[in-house]
């Protein structure tokens, strides 16, 4: 019955309502700050060394102001909107069980701390737009995943969804963890190399590698396809076992495509960033494009299956 993408087909408990309101505010604030910070980042992207001396002086003055105001707007995103990520990271450290939150917080720190330093010292690139964009996209994916999970009240599917979710999320976490470890090692080694050869390039190259190492697409891979599957289940609760099996098999397939597709994408772009061909803003754009591609691929699952008997399920279900 529920048609709105934000609607539920059951009444939420007061506890769930409060949790949902909090994540909605976090999401809205992250998007609001992201759009503002992207706007303030524009002068930085327009700057060219070939401009006349007078023009550069005015532009640099404006960029410094914009950096400070971006910093002011990024702090609430980091501290408030991304709070669930920090909480997850603390829990992961306490229980020694690595989750997706750990690489996400490493990436946030890696892009935020050099930006704060660049703002205070007055030279160097800032990546506030990348940080806020990253948080906003991540929270969007999580919000829809949470919403979709809450709206399924059919006990049969809830159990099956749990059985589907746990191994997929575990695999995504593992892939992302290895990915971030390898990326951090590459970023460190490449920065060291540039430091010895041409110190001017060391920081920009390292930051592009770190921005690209934001496992944004990887973080979206499993939740987005699970959310699409959940929405399909919520939209047509009368699926027969065969149809739901086919849907689950397709979910696993699309999650794998997302996971390994974004991995291959990073494998292709990392060498380009290492030799200095990918500037940090291009890295942020690449991160955005890969995330959108992952989300679009996942939403192929959100189709209402035909009511007629479906063709036999592919034999991919484990």
């Amino acid at each position: 019955m529920a048609k709105s993408i934000l609607a539920f087909n059951r009444t939420l408990t007061p506890e769930e309502t409060r949790a949902r309101r909090r994540s909605l505010v976090r999401l809205g604030l992250a998007w609001l700050a992201m759009m503002q910070v992207m706007m303030f980042a524009l002068p930085g992207y327009l700057r060219r060394d070939s401009y006349g001396h007078d023009n550069l002086e005015v532009l640099d003055w404006a960029i410094t102001l914009m950096n400070w105001i971006s910093l002011v707007m990024t702090i609430p995103v980091i501290l408030y909107a991304a709070w669930p990520v920090w909480k997850g990271t603390l829990k992961a450290i306490r229980t020694l069980h690595v989750t997706m939150d750990v690489p996400v917080s490493i990436s946030m720190i890696a892009a935020f701390v050099p930006s704060v330093y660049a703002t205070i010292s007055g030279h160097g690139e800032v990546y506030f737009d990348s940080v806020t964009m990253f948080v906003a996209f991540l929270l969007t994916a999580r919000f829809f995943e949470e919403r979709a999970r809450m709206s399924v009240d059919n006990a049969r599917f809830a159990r099956e969804m749990d059985a589907l979710r746990t191994p997929l999320m575990a695999r995504a976490d593992k892939v992302a963890m290895w990915f971030i470890v390898v990326q951090l090692a590459i970023a460190g080694l490449v920065a060291l190399y540039w430091w010895m050869v041409e110190p001017v390039f060391a920081i920009p190259v390292m930051v592009s590698l770190l921005v690209m190492s934001c496992p944004c697409a990887l973080a979206l891979a499993a939740p987005s396809s699970l959310a699409a599957t959940n929405s399909t289940l919520a939209a047509c609760p009368e699926l027969n076992p065969e149809q739901s099996r086919a849907l689950f098999a397709k979910t696993r397939r699309i999650t794998s495509q997302n996971l390994y597709g974004s991995l291959v994408f990073h494998l292709i772009t990392t060498p380009l960033a290492a030799v200095g061909l990918v500037t940090p803003w291009l890295a942020a754009l690449a991160m955005f494009v890969s995330s959108v591609a992952v989300a679009a691929n996942a939403w192929r699952l959100y189709r209402i299956p035909a009511t007629r008997p479906s063709r036999s399920a592919p034999a991919m279900a484990g």
Binding site: R20, V25, G28, I69
Partner: protein, 57 residues
Amino acid sequence: MEILYLLLPVSLLFVLMIAAVLWWAVFSGQYDDPEQSGHAILDDDDTPGQENDSRRD
């Protein structure tokens, strides 16, 4: 270009205001059920000649 000293704080103020309004709107429950308002007009029982509508004199 000194106008930026005025414009940037003004834009920050606007963002704060939007954030505050968003905060109020979400926590006053306006986004709890986006379907409800759309359905309300359909669920309303407006059959004539019945005393189910107390607001009508």
